[in-house]
Symmetry: C2
Subunit: 243 residues, 2 copies
DNA sequence: CGCGATTTGTGCACGACTTCACAAGCGCCT
DNA sequence: AGGCGCTTGTGAAGTCGTGCACAAATCGCG
């Protein structure tokens, strides 16, 4: 009975991280009226190597047709199933400051499988405020609302000083996945997943590459930007930096 | 003469991605009055393995003392030098919608080596607006301002439909590093670095793990969350999910 | 019905990254 | 001065991810 669905294979983490990108590209293709797509075309739209794409898709039980390509609608269903997006997941957002406001109003969550079910803040001055059709609750109300709304995912958009405390409260309220925008490391029990997004870190990584590029052109030119191997610098493939 | 500074070693990309996290932890330690720190302690504060930390630091020419640890202030200087943060880098932010507003007001950029030098938007209704002490300019003014302010880093916070066009304009204006918040793949010439941050993708990755956890407890319990190997689930180390 | 064009799925080799385990080095205490 | 404990730096092994190159499979057409 529970073996009806193709039991989740344990995908490589790198593959999981790319599936959402494939999904986005597929939705785009579907809207453009495409019925099928080759691995080459889909890989191009997702910004990856076509062999990598095929290997990724093969991990979730191949649904392509040789000589033809992949059925766009079928592949969308498959990936959405694997990612657990067949149900719309409820998300709690904690911290409605500068960034939290923007996240609460971000349309991308709603259109890609998520529903912001509740907003929380510790500042009584912010409690009661209406944002995008939702009212900000006090963080003390988290347990009851998390229970009532079946919230399993939490987003932390508080200052770093409050983040660990908020994480503890989220875990206590039954949250098992956390997206952390605060610039700090969180400690959570086993079984709870944490992903971190730090905007300043992304810029610092870019800064390193700027520094490297600048030091290269300062050296006696040897195979740097000055020697363009392929003729004119083609507006071609994106330069991959990091993951 | 130009060999005075320890010429940039080409660090592994994975190391570069972790250096900013070390830097943040080091600043925190310095504020707490710590003078030196062991690899074990710093690794804990940064959420990584201590062997990994030592290898990362060894790549930039070891500045630790055996039996003692690392000099906090010296290490901060080293990492900031390698990341190119000795100068405060000017950043252009394009798109002052929902997310752009939040980014323009984000204090973390200023405190970690960056200066938002200009805001741009294509919507005439938004041009002229004051945000956080800056006035929003029209995107057509980008070339002159980028030149005047020596802007080499651009942040794209526009809708996906506009992102490629904005990227082209940024590159034409001399920008060589782009941080892209729009959910799409950018094509840029060689020599231009792009990093992408997609908030919905992060949630979808968490959703996958939720789905996996849910399907595990649905199966006959075999080594899942039910069998706690180390006694009580200690509020210990963070569970690493992806990079 | 058979053949060629096309595209998937994958074995294999390579490279990157991680982790362990330990020798080498440093400071402190006696 | 000498020895001991602590910590770094790194060789080596293991793991993970990537990309090539090709066999297998499918469709369309004559």
């Amino acid at each position: 009975m529970s073996q009806q669905v193709p039991a989740l294979p344990d995908l490589p983490e790198a593959t999981v991280a790319r599936l959402p990108e494939y999904l986005r590209a597929l939705h785009h293709l579907a809207e453009s009226g495409n019925d099928t797509v080759s691995s080459e075309a889909l890989a191009g739209a997702a910004g990856v190597n076509s062999a990598k794409l095929r290997k990724d898709l093969s991990h979730l039980g191949s649904y392509g047709t040789r000589g033809v390509g992949y059925d766009v609608a079928l592949l969308i269903d498959q990936i959405e199933y694997v990612l657990g997006l067949t149900q719309r997941r409820a998300v709690a957002l904690v911290g409605v400051g500068n960034l939290g406001h923007a996240l609460a109003g971000y349309a991308g969550f709603g259109s890609r499988g998520f529903r912001i079910a509740a907003l929380f803040d510790a500042d009584p001055g912010r409690v009661g405020e209406h944002i995008n059709g939702l009212v900000v609750r006090h963080i003390d109300e988290l347990p009851e609302i998390a229970e009532a709304e079946s919230i399993a995912i939490g987003v932390i958009a508080t200052p770093a000083t409050a983040a660990q405390s908020v994480a503890d409260r989220l875990v206590a309220a039954g949250v098992t996945s956390i997206l952390n925008f605060a610039p700090c490391v969180l400690s959570v029990p086993d079984g709870v997943d944490v992903r971190k997004v730090d905007l300043a870190i992304e810029l610092q990584i870019l800064s390193f590459h700027e520094h490297r590029k600048a030091s290269l052109i300062a050296l006696p030119a040897a195979g740097g930007l000055t020697a363009l191997p392929g003729g004119l610098a083609a507006t071609g493939t994106e330069e991959a930096v990091g993951s």
